[in-house]
Amino acid sequence: MGATAVNKNTGSKRQQKKKQALQKKKQNKEFFNAKTQKQMDLSDHSDSSDEEVEEYEDVNGVQEDSGSASDISSEGDDPLAHDFLQGSEESDDEDDKGASTQDPTSDSCSDSDSDESDIEAKSKAIDEEKKKEEEEAVAEMQLNIKDESDEFRLPTKQELEEESLRPPDLPNMQRRIKEIVRVLSNFKALRQEGATRKEYVEQLKRDLSSYYGYNEFLIGALVEMFPIVELMELIEAFEKPRPICLRTNTLKTRRRDLADVLINRGVNLDPLSKWSKVGLVVYDSQVPIGATPEYMAGFYMLQSASSFLPVMALAPQEKERIIDMAAAPGGKTTYIAALMKNSGMIFANEMKVPRLHSLTANLHRMGVTNTVVCNYDGKELPKVLGVNSVDRVLLDAPCSGTGVISKDESVKTSKSLEEIQKCAHLQKQLILAAIDMVDANSKSGGFIVYSTCSIMVAENEAVIDYALKKRDVKLVPCGLDFGRPGFIRFREQRFHPSLEKTRRFYPHVHNMDGFFVAKLKKMSNAKPKVESSTPSETVEEGLELGENGSEKDSQENVKQHLVEHSRKENKVLKKDITDNGKKESPSSAIKNKKRKFPSRERNDITENGKKRSPSSAIKRKKRKFPSREQIEKISRAREEKRKALREKKKAARQKSGGGE
């Protein structure tokens, strides 16, 4: 609000200057040619600058200030100019502004260099100064006019500075988000001249993260996974809670009967969608749905729709031996027991002691009698329950919970790259344990179902892909006729093509928590030492890339707490790092790294060094970059790294500088 207020009065003040502004227009032209090619660098420059603000501050803080000031005024003034300026010139005007911010410094310094005591020159300079000022005024005025147009214009870094100082202006931000989305949805038509999609995206990320309160890492990850429009839907979906959902306990009643009883109690409900025979959706209810006599009698269980899926995928048969590796609070376990009609047996394992109470209570309440509840770390289970001993294993792995943000807001900010990596690592161990426990030549079974409530590729497809390589298992269809197929390729990662058999579920698509389900069939009890028989070409490449990185990382890892990683994981981990290094804003990486892990800073810096150069480079050049940076990486010894960084930074500046 504050900003607009300023615009108003400034605008009124500037009204009378219009006429002179008009007559001075021709003089603008001459600047035009000179500044056109500069624009690119400028824009890049500004990008890089707001990526690493800290570097810029010491270098040219002064002009920053002036620029920012002018920016504000200009921003304020734009609205009036609109009517009689056609689209072509807007870019010019902007350039003017840009020039106005830049030139004085350059000229002044050049002048000062050439000759000090030339009064004429000085006076001329002064005149120019004046003239410039007037021009600026005109420009600003025109800008004012233009800014009101439906065309959207990215804010410059200075404005962002200002915003960061001011309390966040949410409606404004929301408007901007909408605008950007609109622009991106139809980039060709609506793009602002010279602004790259990337700029928009970065801006969008910033706004989203501040508007919805995500941390950059998470928002970045999401942006990578979804096209912008869908991203918006997803984030919106995360904001509102999922409908309450309950599962009929078929050990005790039938869905129809239960529905009748609950409706009589004043609960407004409907059958869950067609894929479940036992699910009910609760819209609203007079009575606390979690405290009805029927609930206490174990007629139903309150659990999210998504948690039906892994059990349905598991499809347990009667008389089978089944392990639920992470059972609490028992929603899935009781569902399994119900499907087995209390026959066979279930090992319900839960590592966290405090959650055991709710697990056992639920089991008893639901009248489940075929379960043995034990308290182990999932990794030890094979040792305890024996290898190749059961028919099916359900591994609902502990995860970052990025799918259930609507349930728990804290995920938005708490999760970081490390946590994802930690989860991924644990999940890989667990899935191997799960596979080991399954008996491949069981008549009815031999299946493993892996599920997470995370939507991170690293916790899902990557884990499955890893399992595919480490054990003789193959993916089989989940038996769920809906849900999105899993990623086969994600950025430069290439997974086994059969991963499309896995299923992803999203709040905005399926109106349930973000979820991932994969069903594996164990082919043989042998543990193959070799990699999966036919690694696809792309995977190969991805691997090599990883390999190269691996030594360096492994050494670093000593510093980090990821000691226990095996080489393979390192590779994948590396991949993660690199790819999010490549794709998402390194600045974010730096910022939070800086906060937490000083030890890793340089590493990141190198990366964003790498990153920045390609980004600043022209598109066609980008193809070659991997090779070059490989060479660099391999050639450089570790102790030289710091120097290398500095050089790279310099080089970067020179490049930008040399562009002119």
Partner: protein
């Protein structure tokens, strides 16, 4: 986890006998349908951390390789031994008591909730009652729609109940499924 010794067994069975006169044999001799084996054998009582569990033998077989420390529960927990060696049935026992109950009481819908909050069953809330209830017998409490709600000890015989005034106590509360919510931790 260990089988009950003589004393404990008698104590437990007597408790159960109060609720299920000659249906106790069903509890003890019926073949279990849990367990993966083709013939899972019968049910048996196991004592684990002073809780008594009613489990299919085949489950017990398989549960043996779980370390005592890490074994949390198996089958149905039907009660716990106090330090003084007394045995108390817990709510979970309802799973085996309800089908085998000899003495039943049905509650009017209006009085369900009060029972689920741990109150005794008053005559006023009585919807139906089986005959041949003698004081001191174990009674399983049902809702009018045959949902087992809990169990208790009969205070009056079915005949006396007729003379009783509406808020005379018919069944003394022992356990009710409300405890699943009220005291999840103790269970």
């Amino acid at each position: 986890m260990r089988p009950l010794d003589e004393k404990e067994t008698t104590v437990v069975l007597e408790k159960l006998l109060k609720f299920t006169d000659n249906n106790l044999q069903n509890i003890v001799y019926n073949p279990s349908h849990e367990g993966p084996d083709p013939n899972p054998g019968r049910y048996c009582f196991r004592l684990h951390k002073n809780k008594v569990y009613y489990v299919s033998e085949s489950l017990v077989k398989r549960a043996t390789n779980v370390a005592r420390a890490n074994l949390v529960s198996l089958g149905t927990c039907i009660g716990k031994f106090t330090h003084h060696g007394n045995f108390h049935l817990t709510v979970q026992a309802l799973t085996i008591l309800a089908p085998n109950a000899k003495h039943k009481v049905w509650l009017k819908p209006t009085s369900e909730m009060s029972f689920l909050y741990g109150n005794h069953v008053l005559k006023g809330g009585l919807g139906r009652i089986t005959d041949a209830i003698a004081p001191g017998k174990g009674v399983v409490v049902f809702s009018m729609s045959d949902v087992p709600l809990g169990f208790g000890i009969a205070a009056k015989s079915a005949q006396d109940c007729r003379k009783l005034d509406p808020n005379g106590i018919v069944v003394l509360h022992q356990a009710d499924i409300g405890e699943y919510l009220r005291k999840e931790e103790e269970l």
